[in-house]
């Protein structure tokens, strides 16, 4: 019965897998990047859920508050969010260059052109 209380984590797992599925099932290069960003954001949600304390407040110290949520996951995820956007930006730059030199941003097309070139 106590398993049911993990509903939060379960939905997060599902979210992660949707993102992951978008990355591997779509052939469009921009869509893949979007999928990655969904995947990563969902992992962030997992981390943040971990840090939550029932009845706690945001970890900004103040008089009269005894229960705070855990600040460490927050710090880690702040870092990870920035990593995420850095990856996205670089990925987009690559997509733009690929689009310019292949004339397509579909995996299938590019793979075909490469095979012909070989």
């Amino acid at each position: 019965m106590s398993y049911l209380l993990q509903y939060n984590y379960w939905i997060v797992m599902v979210l992660m897998m949707i993102g992951f599925y978008i990355v591997i099932s779509h052939g469009n290069l921009v869509k893949k990047l979007l999928g990655l960003s969904i995947f990563q954001t969902s992992v962030f949600i997992l981390y943040i859920s971990m840090g939550k304390v029932e009845g706690g407040t945001a970890p900004i110290l103040d008089e009269g508050i005894v229960l705070y949520s855990n600040p460490l996951p927050h710090v880690l995820i702040l870092t990870a969010i920035v990593v995420g956007i850095a990856t996205t930006a670089l990925g987009l730059a690559l997509v733009v260059r690929i689009s310019e030199s292949y004339g397509s941003i579909e995996e299938d097309d590019i793979q075909k052109m490469d095979n012909e070139q070989c």
Partner: protein, 492 residues
Amino acid sequence: MLSQLPILQVILPLMAAPLCLIVREPRLVWLFSLLTSALTLGISILLLQQVLHEGTLSYALGGWQPPWGIEYRIDPLNAFVLLLVSLLSFVVLLAAHTSITREIAPEKQTYFYMAFLLCMAGFLGIVATGDAFNVFVFLEISALATYTLIALGSDRRALWASYQYLIMGTIGATFILIGIGLMYMMTGTLNMHDLAQRLPAVAGTRTLFTAFAFFIVGVCLKLALFPLHLWLPNAYAYAPSIVSAFLAATATKVAIYLLLRFIFTVFGVEFSLNHLPLQTILMALGLAGVFMASIVAIYQQNMKRLFAYSSVAQIGYMILGFSFGSVTGLMATLLHLFNHALMKGALFLALAGIFYRLGSVDLDKMQGLAKRMPYSMAAIVIGGISLIGVPLTVGFVSKWYLVLAALESGWWPLALLVLAGSLLALVYVWRFVETVYFQPLSEANSQVKEAPLGILLPTWLLVVANVYFGIDTQLTVGVAQIAAHSLFGSAS
């Protein structure tokens, strides 16, 4: 000052990179990067000495004691890999200027050196740190820099290879992030040493098993372990030659280090290899990697691609080594880590020289080239011999220990398979020798000159190292032994 060495090792290249943006002039930037990497090399030598004399070093960043702050923890294994990375980076950078002027547009060269330094700093950071999340951060620094470096290749396929690597690499990094997150969830700590002490208490839980699985799969993606290697051949083949040399010599080694560190130090041998079927899985994948990749390598026309597949095969040997779960096996892995870096460094640098003259590394354009470029070709032949594992080269030393480990554990069929794998290497090296030495010089190549000295010298430096460490094994075997023992020591 000596106590600051662990951190200096990493922040030196890290701080040098933004300074490059201020210097700007490519030639100066090159000299500056070279100086930085020379200093890094010096520091890593000092560190190794210090560790061998005084034992494990711990450096608390920000003055906060672990596990509250981030810790740099240098034991013989780190020091060994740090030396490997900084040594190879230095040698490769020596050759960079000549090769890069040919392959990368002048206005992008500064960015190239910056990315190179950042990548190196990332690798060093991964190896030096004792904090699980810090690994992720430095993993991303090196990864983003690597994508950039690969995409600077002149062929448009470099872009595609870089993109594929970006996707695979990010999936790998995210898996690692999930793994670290779950570990943190179960123990409340991120410090590796602290993790190692707290994990046994939760060893039986399903969550920890999941964490372990995600972490290992994530690292294996980065590592290009068969069958997750698909991004590697293209990335190595179309990246600028110097980048191929750098990555082949360092990137996968760092990933192997990470795998070893977590399997042996953090999770412990008991959990990783004895409780789980990981040993069998790794052994099977390692062997499959050796054979499949070697066979594919035989059919390659592009030499860089050929050696890239050969890298996948060699990674198989490294995995095989430590999957025996014995000190000798681990030693074989560590030795091969170092030796393979020397071999692949030499081979890819020689190819950089050939690319400089020919503008291509296709095998069918190299007919009879030994007459025109004798030194480059000789370098490849010696590197190839080392790859096969002929006595008097470093390749022999690591194969020897691998076979020894197999026999020691009573897996004698495996010893035979390792030898069979070497035969496959013989086949692809022979293809090259035949084309270059025994076929008549083609018309197009009749005016080709020997590779420029700027590339040839570093190449031969590594070739000589290949032979030297093949004869005088005291240093490498000695350090590998200490490192292997320390890993098993920390596990028990």
